[in-house]
Symmetry: C2
Subunit: 623 residues, 2 copies
C-alpha cells in the first residue's frame, strides 16, 4: 500500500473553501465526515469523499482540513491502515488514546479567532452538528452549513450516484404488506401525536415499502427518502426504476386507491424543499417525527418547536421484531448458507494440505458455494477470510498484498455471510486443518463457553442486550483474557447485516430491550496479535423461554440459533466444558445433522453430508 | 398510620406563594423536592420539608403544590406508604407506571398560561433545574428561584439546623493528611486547568478535612461547604465547633502556615455571596469546578462560561479508592461487626422459639451488641429487621404498627450496619430458626449463587461495575426469578454507607470503572410479596486478581469479602451448588472461623464462638 498523494487536492480544496461561488464567506476549516446523507454504515463509491480527499478508505474516520493542517480522526481498528494510506500532508488523530484531542478541541487550538468551520449539512447528523456547533460557538467560532459539497466540486471523476433496478418482495417474504406497515406507522404517529414522519435511513425506506435495491454494496437498499403524513405518502426516488411495471404494480401506482395510500413519487433531491414546505405549513401542536441521527439539513427544515426527535424510529423498532414469514425466511436462508459452508469446509479440508488455497481463494470459493443456493442475491459484507496472524486483525479483508496461504499449521477464521431473498446470514467459524496446540484449543474453548453462555442465557422480558455482554466474557476473564469488540448486533431480514436498535455490547446503554422475534448475532472472540484469531458467531433468534417460575408474570426469553454450521470439535478441550455446555454442543450438532443434513441430502451433496456427519459426532466428556 | 391533615398547611402555603414578602411575583406552582442544599441522601429533620407539607416521609419523593392541586411523585418502594401517610388533598403520582405524567408534563397540563413555577434554588440541583426549566419554557411557563424557602415560612416549629461537635481523624484512620488531600486536589485542578473547586457534598467536605460530625443521622457528616483555590482554602461552617481546641489543632488554625494551607473559616450561609464574589472576579480562562449535582443557586453564582461541571468530582473519585489505613480500618470494623452479629444470631437462636422476640427487639439487640464494640459511633442506616411477609418489603423498617414476632416458621431478614471510627459496615443475612421449606431453600440458594458469582468474578482492570450486575441474576433468571433492585453500592470509610462513583447495577451506565481499593456491597435478593424476603449482602473490597494470562497487560481484579458473618448453611440446597460454589462457601466460612473466631476468643465471647463454629461446618456436596 503506498499512500495517496494529496498535495494538489488539498490545495484545490483550500481554494474552494474561499471561493464565493461555493461559500458565502470563506471557511477556515472544512469537515469531511465518513457518512452519506442517510448516515449509512456502508456507502456508495460517490459518497466516499473522505477516502477521496485523504486516501484512507477504512469504514470510520473524519477528515478536517484547515488552511494549514489536514487531520484524520479514526479508531484503533484503523491506525495502521490510515497511517499507510495517507501521505505526510495528514496528521493521524488516534481516537481513544488519552492525548488525542477531540475534533472540537483541536479546531479551537488551531483556528484563528472568529473562524468559520464548514460542513455539508446533508452529511452531518443533527446530533453531531449540535454538539460541535455548541463547542465551537463557546470558543468564538461558527459552524456553518456549506450547501454544495466542496469535495464534489473538486472531484472531477466522481462516480455517478447508483440508481439500480428495484426488487419487489411479496407477502411470502415480508409477512406484512406495505399498506399494513403504513397503517401501523400511522398508529404509532397518532400515539405520539405527530402529523408527519420522515424516513431517512435507507433500510427503513426499503423495509417500509417491501422493496430492495442494490445501490450500495452488501446492503440491499436504494437511495430514497419518504415522508409519511396522516393521509399522504411521498417517496423521493430518482431514475426510471419507477417505470418498472412490477414496481408500479407493487406500489399500486396506477390503481385507484384510497387517497391515504396513494404514493406520490418525487425526485430524490426535492426532499429538502418539500420538507421545508411541510415545515412552513405547520400549525401549532403539529409535530414532525425524525430520527435524531437525521441530517442537519433535513432536521433544520422543520422549525425547532415542531420537531419530535427520537434515537430510534418506530420503523427501526418494528423492523427489528421479525414476523413469522421473516423468521421462516431467515431459517431457510441459514439452512442454505449452512449447506454452502459444509461444502466449503469439506473442500478446504481436502485442498488446504496441498498448499494452494489462499485467503482470497477460500473467500471466492465461499461465495461460489453460496451463489449456488436458491434466491442468493449477493454477500452481506466483505468476507473476512484470514489465517494465522491475519486472524488477529479483527476487520481484516484479504487483499493481494496480505493474502496468506492456508496451511495445516495455522488457525483459519472465516467470517462471512450472504443476502438471500428470504434472509440475511452472518456466520464465523474458526477451523484448524492440522493439529491445534493445547493453547489454541484452550482459548477456543473459552470463546465457545462465552458463546454458549449467551446463546443459552435465560433472561426476563424487557432485558436490554447489553446486560448479557459479560456472560460472553466470563470464561475469558477468569483466565485474564478478553476481546475488544461487542458481542452481537441486530441482523436485518434480507436487509442490512448490522441494524439497530438491539445488540449485545458493553459499549452501549441506549439499546432497546430484547423481545421475541428480534434477531442478533452472538460472536465472542479472542485475538492474539501476530499469531491467531478465534471467533465463533451464530445468528440467533430471540424466543420465549419456559421457566420453572414466572416472577411478576414477566415471562422469560432465550435464544434459538438460526446458524446451523458445525463448530469444529477438534478445537474443543472437552475437559474445560461443564456438562451443561457439553450437552449444548451435542444438541446443537444434532440439530445441524438433522436440519442441514436433510437439505444436503435433498440437494444431492453427499460428500458434504458425510463431512457434516463426521464433524457433528457427539463430544464425550471425561467424568 | 393515619394520614397527616394538610388542609390548613396547604392553604398557608398557597398564601405565601402569592405574598410579595417572599415572591417577586406570585408563583402558580411551588416545587418541594426531597433533598437538602447538599443533595444528601439522608437529611436532617429541619430539611424534611416535603414530609412536613405532605405527611409522606419516605426517602424519595417530590411534592408540587399549585393553587388547585397538590401532587406527590414517588417510586414503587413507597406507593403504599405514601398512600397511607397523605390525606385526600394529595394526588399520588406513581413513578415508573406507564400512565404517570412527569412533573413537567403534569405542570404543563394543569397550569394557566404563562405561569411561574417556584422552587428553592438551594435545594434543586443544577441539572434538574436545567431540564425542568427547559420543558416549562417550551410550554410558555417560567421556572423561578424563590430565595426564601416557602415551607420554612409556614413551618413554625421547624427544628434548628443541627450543629454538633466534630470528630477529628488522625493519620492512623485516614492514611492521608488533609494537607496532602488538598495537594492532590490542586494537582487534579491543575490537570483540568481550573482555578477553583467548590465542595458541596457533605461527605466530600468531611473526607477532605479528615473530620466527621453527627448533624445527620447515620451519616457522620456536618453542614459545611468548602471552596478550594490554587492558594486559598475557605471552609464555610457554623457554630462554636470551630472553637474546639482539638479541631483547631487538627486544622492548624492557630499555626503559622504557608498561606496556601491557611484555612479561612466563614459562616455557612456566606457561601453564596463568597462564590458570587469569586464569580465576579474571574478573568477569561479561569474556570470553577463544580459537581453537576450542585445546587442551582451555587452553580448560578459562577457565570456560565466559567463553569466546569462534572458528574463525579475528583474528591468523590479519590474518596472511593481506599488507602491501606482505610482498608485496614474497614477490615477491623467488619471483624467487630461480625462479633456483634455472632452474638446476636446466637441469642436469637435461643430466644426466637420462646416467641418473645419482635422485629424491633431484634433490631435493638443488634444495636446493643454493636455498641459494645470498640470505636462504635452509631448505626450506618436504619436497621431492616423483618420477618415473614415484611421481608418482602425491600426498604422495610419495623415500627410498632407493623412489628412482627420472629418465629420458627418464618424467614428472618436482617440488613444492618454501623459506623465505627475505623470503618462503615453494611451486612444482610437471611436466617430460619426452624426448618425452611424446600422452596425457601431453593430460592435462597439461587440468591447465594448470584452472590458468589459477583464475589468470585474476575474481570479486567477498567471494568465498570454495571457490567457485573447480570452475574448476580443469572441463577435466578434461569428459573424465571429476579429482584428489582441493584446489586451493589459504594461504601464509605467511616462515612456514608452509600457513596459514588462506583456500584453494581443494571440501572446506571455512568459509574466509574472499578479499581483496586474501591469498596462496594454485593447484595442480590429474592422477594415474594406477602410471604418472604431473601437477601445475602457482603461488603467487598476490590483487589488485584492473579490470572493465568494477562491480555494486553491490563491486569485483572476480583473481590475480597470484608464482611465475615456466616451464611446460614441450613438454608442452602447443596445439590444446587456447583463444586466451585461449594468450595467458595467452605473457604468463606473457614475465614470467618479463623478471623472472627480469634476475635471472639480474644473478647471472651465463648458461647458466640461455639455458635460460629457450628454455623461454619463445611458443606458436603453429594457427588
Amino acid at each position: 500500500m503506498s499512500p495517496k498523494i494529496t498535495t494538489e487536492l488539498l490545495k484545490q480544496l483550500r481554494q474552494v473553501m474561499k471561493n464565493p461561488r461555493y461559500v458565502q464567506e470563506p471557511v477556515q476549516a472544512y469537515i469531511v465526515p465518513s457518512g452519506d446523507a442517510h448516515q449509512s454504515e456502508y456507502i456508495a463509491p460517490c459518497d466516499c469523499r473522505r477516502a477521496f480527499i485523504s486516501g484512507f478508505d477504512g469504514s470510520a474516520g473524519t477528515a478536517i482540513v484547515t488552511e494549514q493542517h489536514a487531520a484524520m480522526w479514526t479508531d484503533g481498528r484503523y491506525f495502521l491502515q490510515a497511517a499507510h494510506q495517507m501521505d505526510s500532508n495528514w496528521t493521524l488523530m488516534k481516537m481513544g488514546l488519552k492525548d488525542t484531542p477531540t475534533q472540537e478541541d483541536w479546531l479551537v487550538s488551531v483556528l484563528p479567532e472568529g473562524s468559520k468551520v464548514g460542513v455539508d449539512p446533508f452529511i452531518i447528523p443533527a446530533d453531531q452538528w449540535k454538539r460541535m456547533s455548541k463547542a465551537l460557538r463557546s470558543a468564538g467560532h461558527d459552524l456553518v452549513p456549506v450547501k454544495e459539497n466542496l469535495i464534489d466540486t473538486i472531484w472531477t471523476d466522481c462516480p455517478q450516484r447508483p440508481c439500480k433496478p428495484l426488487i419487489t418482495l411479496d407477502l411470502s417474504y415480508t409477512g406484512l404488506s406495505w399498506r399494513d406497515k403504513i397503517v401501523a406507522l400511522r398508529s404509532k404517529m397518532a400515539e405520539r401525536k405527530v402529523m408527519w414522519f420522515v424516513v431517512t435511513a435507507l433500510d427503513e425506506v426499503a423495509w417500509l415499502f417491501n422493496l430492495r435495491g442494490s445501490d450500495v454494496e452488501y446492503n440491499p437498499v436504494f437511495f430514497a427518502y419518504a415522508v409519511i403524513g396522516v393521509n399522504t405518502i411521498r417517496l423521493f426516488i430518482d431514475g426510471d426504476r419507477m417505470m418498472d411495471p412490477a414496481v408500479r404494480e407493487h406500489l399500486q401506482l396506477d390503481s385507484t386507491l384510497e387517497p391515504e395510500f396513494k404514493i406520490q413519487v418525487m425526485p430524490y433531491r426535492s426532499i429538502l424543499s418539500e420538507l421545508q414546505a411541510v415545515g412552513a405549513g405547520l400549525s401549532p401542536k403539529e409535530k414532525v417525527w425524525l430520527s435524531d441521527k437525521a441530517s442537519y439539513a433535513l432536521t433544520e427544515a422543520i422549525p425547532k418547536a415542531y420537531r419530535y426527535l427520537t434515537p430510534y424510529t418506530p420503523i427501526c423498532i418494528a423492523k427489528a421484531v421479525k414476523n413469522t414469514a421473516e423468521t421462516e425466511g431467515m431459517r431457510r436462508a441459514h439452512i442454505k448458507d449452512a449447506v454452502a459452508l459444509c461444502e466449503l469446509f469439506n473442500w478446504l479440508e481436502k485442498e488446504v494440505p496441498k498448499g494452494t488455497v489462499t485467503e482470497i481463494v477460500a473467500s471466492d470459493k465461499a461465495e461460489e458455494f453460496r451463489s449456488q443456493q436458491k434466491d442468493f442475491v449477493e454477500l452481506s459484507f466483505a468476507t473476512i477470510s484470514s489465517t494465522g496472524p491475519n486472524g488477529a486483525i479483527i476487520h481484516y479483508k484479504p487483499v493481494p498484498e496480505t493474502n496468506r496461504t492456508l496451511s495445516v499449521n495455522e488457525i483459519f477464521l472465516l467470517d462471512s455471510g450472504a443476502q438471500y431473498k428470504d434472509g440475511t446470514t452472518d456466520v464465523t467459524r474458526t477451523m484448524h486443518f492440522g493439529t491445534p496446540s493445547a493453547y489454541e484449543k484452550e482459548c477456543f474453548t473459552y470463546v465457545l463457553k462465552g458463546h454458549i453462555a449467551v446463546s443459552a442465557a435465560i433472561f426476563p422480558n424487557g432485558t436490554k442486550g447489553h446486560l448479557l455482554d459479560s456472560f460472553a466474557r466470563s470464561a475469558l476473564w477468569d483466565c485474564g483474557l478478553d476481546y475488544l469488540h461487542g458481542t452481537g448486533h441486530g441482523v436485518g431480514s434480507f436487509l442490512n447485516v448490522h441494524e439497530g436498535p438491539c445488540g449485545i455490547s458493553y459499549k452501549t446503554f441506549a439499546d432497546e430491550p430484547l423481545e421475541a422475534g428480534m434477531i442478533v448475532s452472538d460472536e465472542p472472540g479472542y485475538y492474539e496479535d501476530g499469531s491467531f484469531g478465534i471467533r465463533i458467531e451464530n445468528v440467533v433468534l430471540v424466543i420465549p423461554a419456559e421457566t420453572k417460575y414466572n416472577f411478576k408474570n414477566r415471562g422469560s426469553l432465550t435464544f434459538e440459533p438460526l446458524t446451523l454450521v458445525p463448530i469444529q470439535t477438534k478445537m474443543i478441550d472437552v475437559n474445560l466444558l461443564t456438562e451443561k455446555e457439553c450437552n449444548w454442543v451435542n444438541e446443537y450438532h444434532q440439530k445441524c445433522r438433522e436440519v442441514v443434513g436433510a437439505e444436503l441430502e435433498r440437494q444431492g451433496r453427499h460428500e458434504a453430508l458425510r463431512w457434516l456427519l463426521r464433524e457433528t459426532e457427539p463430544l464425550a466428556r471425561v467424568q
